[in-house]
Assembly symmetry: C2
Homo-oligomer: 346 residues x 2
């Protein structure tokens, strides 16, 4: 099997895949395949209950926040957030730090007045309904590690590619959300954690974007992707069993990231130009000196069994995503290969 | 294993489940699990190409129609259709024949002026941008088998629960769409077949609803549910191999429906009150004379290994869905059990 550094859909723990494989034939002795289990079946209610309990435990979610499970990926939330959170100011501030926050800001302009900034020391020129940022820019390898704001405007955060990789103080946020296909399983479910006081009943929001309706219908107004929910459930179980807390998950991820950034910084052919304090622990990007050399590197990496190292098509170069299911041994193998490749170029 | 008559997510062919089970470990010798394959990988382009080719073949789709693969289920299309198809009239006619068409009409009112009718001999009082109906009402067991209209207003049809169960003359439609979790696999992908001339570039549609953008980005603007696409691909292969044409699929489904409706009509305890010419071939509903007897029937059916026979929570009673993957032997077993249960009540 290949060693998978893909940015998403991402590698899953082998134990989770094996459980799913079993469930495909007979889901928990129901006599029905996981793929055919009804979302109205009691066994599916148990999946939902388990997700709610274990996610609350891992992230220490306060009781005045709801967990909504939605469809359409982070991109659907780019629209849903302004639609749901637009209030008396009809205005939002977007911190633009890379491709994903820029996409979110551009989409929001369809539904609300948008101001943008690139300064993570936030001050508002005009009152806003919310302040939006992207915790980890998956494409750019940039992570907003600190954000200063002096107002009490609710903070909204796209945590797609750092979700469950570290603790989060939920009370600092009005809303955080994540697509599942990084650290929470496979595409098909988007996790929205939102303060109840921000959920408004509105009349003209499309059903699939409607937070109020989603909450009232326990996230099953319409048919969800059953296997995406079950995979998320299994991932939560796995994290609790293997790491117990997100503090320990974060330590593990820091160790992997340090190893790879050190290898890059100590090399003569790999470069990462991001200010150290903003370097992403989840998506490590690096460039080689020419496009030709990048191609050669990627080709040989592929032949040596590494998958998903090509940078995003918008930025080129290379990218190694170090999500929770990537092991230390995987990163050690990559670092060893990078050194070997470098030596071969001398 | 249970015999599955669930309305959706529905039973899949065993051969498809076995293929998926294999792919979960190693997808087509890539060395990567199906669950971790990137939607930007060449092997995923092949999945999309195969879906396009085989769906065009099965449904004989004219070249001036596009196949879009979207997210959010049929419910997302309830919003997307009026948003995309609203034109100079800013008005649509909805034929309301049951729960799903009523939900669609109610949702459309958020975005366009909606007129409703219950007559499937359509005449327009005012010019409309489109006429909408639901081919098969999954909850009500009602199928619109003929529709007469004298105008050239584009026809839009929700074919979710009859998709791939019979041939469709695509040229009669401006747009048809279906959630996958009946005859086309599992939740997570919605198939939209739309005449190119109806796709308009609009500025204020949410990204995930935008037909123009979906077409231009080959349905992968954002991360799709990879396993839902692959399951759909496998289902198309299965239909071509096992039946070759949708005419043959329709014959097979008719045989199963006739068997079950005959059993109901010839019984003294089961009733289906729908006019014969509107009876659904896909979702056969039936009532027993009391709620108590219904409960007893469902309990014994469950004990005997039948799954998913409970009617939709909005209408009660019983429902047996006879999708493509339900075998004739499955229906024979159900009919035998129904007779046995009836005799035991004497």
């Amino acid at each position: 099997m290949k060693i998978n550094f893909c940015a998403g859909p991402a590698v899953l723990p082998t134990s989770v895949i094996k459980e799913l494989q079993q469930m495909l034939i007979d889901y928990k002795n129901t006599g029905v395949s996981l793929l055919s289990i009804s979302h109205r079946d009691k066994v599916f209610d148990e999946v939902h209950a388990s997700i709610q309990t274990n996610l609350r435990k891992l992230l220490n979610i306060p009781s005045d926040y709801s967990i909504l499970l939605m469809q359409g990926g982070a991109t659907a939330q780019f629209s849903a957030i302004p639609m749901n959170l637009a209030g008396k100011h009809n205005r939002a501030l977007y911190l633009c730090t890379g491709i994903w926050s820029e996409k979110a800001a551009k989409e929001a302009e369809k539904f609300i007045n948008v101001e943008t900034t690139t300064q993570n020391n936030i001050s508002l020129k005009e009152p806003c309904d919310y302040i939006y940022y992207t915790d980890n820019e998956t494409v750019d390898g940039y992570q907003v590690k600190e954000l200063a704001k002096s107002c009490d405007t609710p903070l909204v955060c796209d945590v797609s590619s750092s979700f469950l990789s570290k603790p989060v103080n939920i009370s600092n946020y009005g809303l955080i959300y994540a697509g599942a296909q990084k650290n929470a399983g496979i595409p098909g479910v988007t996790i929205v954690i939102v303060k109840d006081s921000l959920i408004q009943k509105k009349n003209n929001i499309p059903i699939v974007f409607d937070y109020d309706l989603t909450k009232k219908s326990d996230s099953v107004y319409n048919t969800p992707s059953v296997i995406s929910w079950v995979t998320f459930e299994l991932i939560l179980n796995y994290l609790l069993e293997k790491f117990d807390t997100l503090e320990k998950v974060a330590e593990f991820n820091q160790e992997k990231a340090d190893l790879l950034y050190n290898a890059i910084d100590n090399s003569n052919i790999y470069v990462n130009n991001i200010d150290e304090k903003y370097r992403s622990n989840m998506n490590v990007i690096f460039q080689l000196k020419s496009e030709e050399l990048t191609k050669k590197f990627l080709k040989e990496a592929d032949e040596r069994g590494f998958y998903g190292l090509k940078g995003h098509r918008n930025v080129g170069g290379c990218r190694a995503s170090l999500y929770n299911a990537v092991s230390l041994a995987d990163v050690q193998a990559l670092v060893a290969f990078m050194k070997e490749f470098e030596n071969a170029q001398l």
